[in-house]
């Protein structure tokens, strides 16, 4: 029979992993869309007021820039939420998975060439994320949820609790 503490640990890992996946997805999508939008707009002719204003107006008219901005906001929201319970020294390296995911997606979906050096990097990141992911997500005493007005101290309901371990 798994103990209550064990279940609680599993639940914590599950919701931490879910939030980190959201960070990786929204962060990568945001960077890609923002990059695409900005490249289409092009840099300002000079770094003086008028060209910069023109650049900002053009960027604000780009759908990709807005979608990128929205993705990055969702990334930051996931980041803020996961940090209410998980260690900073756990979340940051674990979220580096995006550096491994982006070349993999590029290779398998866009047929991009990945150099041997990059493959080595992807392998090291995957190993590192796996190692960090196997440590306890939280090593500091938790502030009781009751001290926040997020919700009364109900046990983690709905969305996040469904995920698997790491």
């Amino acid at each position: 029979m798994p103990s209550g503490q064990h279940l609680r640990g599993q639940q914590l890992r599950g919701k931490t992993a879910t939030m980190i996946v959201l960070m990786v997805v929204f962060g990568s999508a945001g960077d890609t869309l923002m990059g695409k939008g900005m490249r289409a707009v092009g840099p300002p002719a000079t770094w003086s007021l008028a060209p910069v204003v023109t650049f900002l107006v053009q960027a604000a008219g780009s759908r990709a820039v807005w979608m990128g901005f929205a993705s990055l906001l969702l990334f930051f929201l996931s980041y803020m939420l996961v940090l209410t319970w998980a260690d900073f020294s756990y979340v940051l390296p674990a979220s580096a998975a995006s550096f491994a995911v982006v070349p993999l997606l590029g290779h398998f979906f866009l047929g991009e060439e990945v150099s041997p050096v990059r493959w080595a990097g992807v392998t090291l990141i995957a190993l590192g994320v796996w190692l960090v992911g196997n440590t306890q997500p939280r090593t500091t005493p938790s502030t009781p949820p009751g001290t926040t007005d997020a919700e009364p101290a109900s046990e983690a309901p709905v969305t996040a609790a469904s995920a698997k371990g790491d």
Binding site: P116, G121, V132, A150
Partner: protein, 122 residues
């Protein structure tokens, strides 16, 4: 010399900004409900924290330093800065936030650091 200063700003301001945000969020306590109104309340509480504003200020400083650097020709600084930020995060987590960084986590952080450097360089 000036480039070195901006590289330092990107690394130090970026990492410390994220640590300040982490401190603000830790003080709020674990989020247990993911309903939109509960999340909105967490965001409002976070924005009432001085650590959060200090963190956002440092991150903005890092971002503008990065823009200044990117406007120059040489972007090779991005590799060490990005990779080292993971080691700095582990140090900050240990000494500023009081987290327990065990040997496995250190090893993982070092592998991520080396891996990110290789992905950038490759």
């Amino acid at each position: 010399m000036q480039t070195a200063l901006f590289v330092l700003l990107v690394a130090v301001a970026g990492t410390s900004g994220e640590m300040f945000v982490s401190r603000a969020m830790k003080s709020i306590g674990e989020v247990t409900s993911f309903r939109p109104e509960a999340i909105a309340r967490v965001v409002v509480r976070a924005l009432a924290s001085a650590w959060m504003w200090a963190g956002l200020g440092m991150m903005a400083l890092a971002f503008f330093s990065l823009l200044v650097l990117l406007s120059g020709a040489n972007v090779s600084f991005v590799v060490p800065v990005t990779a080292l930020s993971y080691v700095m995060a582990a140090l900050g987590g240990r000494f500023f936030l009081g987290e327990h960084v065990n040997a496995n986590r250190w090893l993982g952080v070092c592998l991520v650091c080396a891996g990110v450097a290789l992905v950038w360089a490759g």
